[in-house]
C-alpha cells in the first residue's frame, strides 16, 4: 500500500514535525490574509446606526484579524525553525520550492475532473463517466486489460447506483436528443 497509510504517518498526529514547504505555505497564507484584510473597506459594508456586533463587517473583520494573528504566529515559528536548523523539528528540505511542484501535480487531475464535469451536460452521465474512468485508469498507469475492464465495471455501477436507482439530479446529455424518442427518454431518465 502507499506511503500515506503507513502507521508512522498516523503517529505523526501526535507529533509536531514540520514538513517541506511549511514556511512557504505559512508565507502564502499570511500574505493572502493581509490582502483580504486590506479589502475589508471595499468588500464589506458599515451601516450607520447599527451596533458593532450586528455590522455586516463584524464577522469578516473578526475572522480575518484572528487569521492574521494565528498566521503571523505560525509563520514566525516556522521561520524560526528554519533559522535555528533544529534537527528535531526541522527537515533540511523545509524551505523547498520543489515541494510546490508536488502541489502543482494536483492541477493535472483537477483539470481532468473539470473536463469530466463539463462533459456531462453534453455527453450524458453514462458516456462521460465511462470515458473518464477509462482514461484516468490509463493515466494512472494501469495498462492491462483487466484494469480497463474493472474501471468500466466500476463506472457502470456508479452510474446505475446514483443515476438509475437513486435518481441523483444530474443534467441530461445533449447527445441523447439525437437518439430515437423512446430510447432517448430512457437514457435521459436513467443514464
Amino acid at each position: 500500500m502507499g506511503d500515506s497509510h503507513r502507521p508512522t504517518d498516523q503517529q505523526k498526529h501526535f507529533e509536531n514535525r514540520r514538513q517541506p514547504g511549511d514556511s512557504l505555505f505559512a508565507t502564502i497564507v499570511f500574505v493572502l490574509t493581509v490582502f483580504l484584510l486590506s479589502q475589508l473597506g471595499t468588500q464589506t459594508k458599515w451601516i450607520e446606526g447599527t451596533k458593532l456586533l450586528a455590522q455586516p463587517r463584524f464577522w469578516p473583520a473578526l475572522s480575518l484579524i484572528l487569521m492574521l494573528l494565528f498566521a503571523a504566529g505560525y509563520l514566525y515559528f516556522s521561520l524560526r525553525d528554519v533559522v535555528r536548523k533544529n534537527a528535531d523539528s526541522l527537515d533540511d528540505k523545509l524551505w523547498q520550492p520543489g515541494e510546490v511542484l508536488n502541489w502543482l501535480r494536483t492541477l493535472e487531475y483537477a483539470v481532468y475532473f473539470l473536463i469530466y464535469v463539463s462533459a456531462v451536460p453534453k455527453l450524458g452521465y453514462l458516456i462521460s463517466t465511462l470515458v473518464f474512468i477509462l482514461l484516468l485508469t490509463f493515466r494512472a498507469g494501469y495498462r492491462e486489460r483487466r484494469f480497463a475492464g474493472w474501471s468500466l465495471v466500476v463506472g457502470l455501477l456508479v452510474v446505475i447506483l446514483f443515476k438509475s436507482l437513486l435518481q441523483v439530479k444530474l443534467p441530461a446529455g445533449e447527445i441523447y436528443d439525437l437518439l430515437p424518442e423512446a430510447i432517448g427518454g430512457i437514457m435521459i431518465r436513467y443514464f
Partner: protein
C-alpha cells in the same frame, strides 16, 4: 419507555432498515479499504441523501459512521496499515499478534471490543437523554453562542503542537462562511464583484473538496505499494467476547473515555484512543508488552474508538453544535429537511433523537453479524491498488459536488479545496478545523444576532447560568492550555 417504543417503530420501517443495512455494510467495507474512510464516503454520498426523508438519510450516514472503524481494524491487524486513521493504535498490537500467528485472536478481540464500545456508548446516550431533555429548555441563543465558541476553542487547542495552524484554519473557515450576501442588510461580503459568489461558498463542495477530492489526489499521485500476502484467518471470531471479559478493567474505562471525548466538541477518536491506550498501559502488570502484541492494547484502542460516534451525536442533537467533522456533515441533512437540532428538538420531536440512538444500537449488531460471515471476503478488498482507488474516488467526486445544484462554480470550489486539502495533507496539517470553523462560525453569527436585542453590554452575554458556566469552562480550557505550554518550556 414510551420514547423507546416510538423509536423502535421508526427504525422498524423498511426504508430505514434498508438504509441502516446498506450504511453498516458499506461502512465496514469502506473502512477496511485503506485510504478511503468514513469521511470520504460520507462526503461523496451526502448530497444523494438529501432526497430521502431525514431519518432515512441520517440512518445511512450513521451506519457508515458507526461501522467504518470496525472495518478499519482488519488491515490494521493484518497488514499493519490502518483502514481509517483512527485505527492507528490498533496496528501497534494487532500486527505483532498477526506476526505471531494470532491474527484470528486479534481480529476477534477487535470486533468484540468495537462492539462493546459501540453498545456501551449508546446505552450511555439513552440514559443521558432524559437529562438532556430536561435541561434543553435552559439553552437560549446566548448559551448556544457560548457553546459554539467553546467548541471552536476546543477544536484549536486539541490540535496539540499545531495550535497556531488549527487557529488559522478555524478562522479561515469562519471567514469563508461569511463570503456572499448576508441576509440581514443584503450587503455582499468578499464577492469581488463575482455574481457566482453572491450565494456564498456552500459547505458541501468544501467538504467534498477537502475530504474526497484531496484524498483522490493523494492516492493518484503516490505510487502503489507492494501487495502483501494476507495471513489466514481461520476459526471462531466470536471467541473474542470471552476474552474481552478478562479485560473488562480495560474495556470499561476505554469506552468511558470514548463517550467523554465524543461529547466534548473538537476532541474525538484520536484523543480517546490515545488516553485509553496510555491508561491501559499504565495499569497493566506487563506494560512492556504494549506495542509488541498486547491484546489489552487492542481492547483499549478499539473500545474507545467505537464509543465516540454515538457520543459525538450528543452536542449535535442537544445543542445543534457538531463536535467533529462527520457530525458537521450530518448537520446539513438536518437543515435540508428543516429539522433544527438543538434544545427544541428534544421538546418537539423527542422520538427523533431516540430513534437515531437506536439506529446506532442496531448498526452494531448488523456489523457484528456481517463481519462474522464476511471477514474473509473483506480481506481481499485490502488489496485494491492505491491509485485505482484514487481513480474511483475522483469519479465518485462528481456525484458529491455536482449533483447539489448542477453548478460548475461548485465544482471549481470543490477542486480548489481539493488542492488545498492535498497541500494540508502534505504538510500534515489538519483539514477538520476549516469545516468546523465554517459550521461553528455560522452558528455563532446567527445566535449572536438573535441575542442582540438583549445585549446592552458584553457582560449580558455571560450573565445567564448556562452561558456563565460555559464562559468559566472556556477560561479553564484556555488557562489549562497556556499552563501546559508554560510547563513544556
Amino acid at each position: 419507555m414510551e420514547l423507546l417504543i416510538e423509536g423502535f417503530h421508526v427504525i422498524a420501517r423498511l426504508d430505514v432498515l434498508i438504509a441502516l443495512i446498506i450504511g453498516a455494510v458499506g461502512g465496514v467495507i469502506i473502512g477496511a479499504i485503506p485510504g478511503v474512510g468514513a469521511g470520504v464516503a460520507i462526503a461523496i454520498i451526502l448530497p444523494a441523501t438529501f432526497q430521502f426523508e431525514a431519518i432515512v438519510g441520517l440512518t445511512l450516514l450513521l451506519g457508515i459512521y458507526g461501522s467504518a472503524m470496525f472495518g478499519g481494524a482488519i488491515p490494521a491487524i493484518l497488514i499493519n496499515t490502518p483502514g481509517t486513521p483512527v485505527n492507528a493504535l490498533t496496528t501497534y498490537d494487532g500486527y505483532p499478534m498477526t506476526q505471531r500467528g494470532e491474527s484470528r485472536r486479534a481480529i476477534s478481540l477487535a470486533y468484540s471490543s468495537s462492539f462493546f464500545g459501540g453498545i456501551f456508548s449508546v446505552i450511555c446516550l439513552i440514559t443521558i437523554t432524559p437529562f438532556l431533555a430536561s435541561i434543553a429548555p435552559l439553552f437560549g441563543s446566548r448559551d448556544i453562542f457560548m457553546a459554539a465558541l467553546l467548541g471552536a476553542i476546543l477544536v484549536i487547542v486539541s490540535h496539540r503542537g499545531k495550535v497556531l495552524a488549527a487557529g488559522m484554519l478555524v478562522s479561515f473557515g469562519i471567514f469563508i462562511n461569511n463570503v456572499g450576501m448576508e441576509t440581514i442588510n443584503y450587503s455582499n461580503r468578499y464577492t469581488f464583484g463575482l455574481q457566482s459568489l453572491i450565494s456564498g461558498i456552500a459547505l458541501i463542495p468544501v467538504v467534498i473538496g477537502l475530504f474526497a477530492l484531496s484524498q483522490a489526489f493523494v492516492l493518484l499521485i503516490e505510487k502503489d505499494g507492494q501487495l502483501e500476502k494476507l495471513p489466514e484467518v481461520k476459526g471462531n471470531l466470536l471467541q473474542g467476547f470471552s476474552e474481552l471479559f478478562r479485560f473488562k478493567k480495560v474495556a470499561f474505562p476505554s469506552a468511558g473515555f470514548g463517550v467523554i471525548m465524543g461529547i466534548i466538541p473538537g476532541v474525538g477518536e484520536f484523543l480517546a484512543q490515545f488516553f485509553s491506550y496510555s491508561l491501559a498501559r499504565m495499569v497493566s502488570k506487563k506494560p512492556e508488552r504494549f506495542g509488541n502484541g498486547a491484546p489489552d492494547g487492542i481492547v483499549a484502542s478499539e473500545s474507545a474508538n467505537n464509543a465516540v460516534p454515538a457520543a459525538a451525536m450528543i452536542p449535535l442533537l442537544s445543542l445543534g453544535i457538531p463536535g467533529e467533522v462527520l457530525t458537521a456533515m450530518m448537520l446539513s441533512v438536518f437543515y435540508v429537511h428543516n429539522i433544527i437540532p438543538g434544545p427544541t428538538l428534544f421538546q418537539t420531536r423527542p422520538e427523533f433523537p431516540v430513534s437515531l440512538y437506536l439506529c446506532l444500537l442496531v448498526v452494531n449488531v448488523i456489523i457484528l453479524v456481517f463481519l462474522l460471515f464476511a471477514t474473509r471476503f473483506i480481506m481481499h478488498l485490502i488489496r485494491i491498488p492505491t491509485r485505482f482507488l484514487g481513480v474511483c474516488i475522483l469519479t465518485l467526486g462528481l456525484i458529491g459536488v455536482y449533483s447539489i445544484r448542477n453548478s460548475f462554480v461548485d465544482c471549481i470550489i470543490g477542486v480548489a479545496f481539493g488542492v488545498l486539502g492535498y497541500i494540508l495533507k502534505r504538510l500534515q496539517l489538519p483539514i477538520v478545523p476549516i469545516i468546523l470553523g465554517m459550521v461553528l462560525g455560522g452558528i455563532m453569527e446567527v445566535k449572536l444576532r438573535n441575542s442582540m436585542a438583549r445585549l446592552e453590554t458584553p457582560i449580558d452575554l455571560i450573565n445567564r447560568p448556562v452561558s456563565g458556566t460555559i464562559f468559566v469552562l472556556i477560561l479553564i480550557v484556555l488557562l489549562a492550555h497556556f499552563y501546559a505550554l508554560y510547563r513544556k518550556k
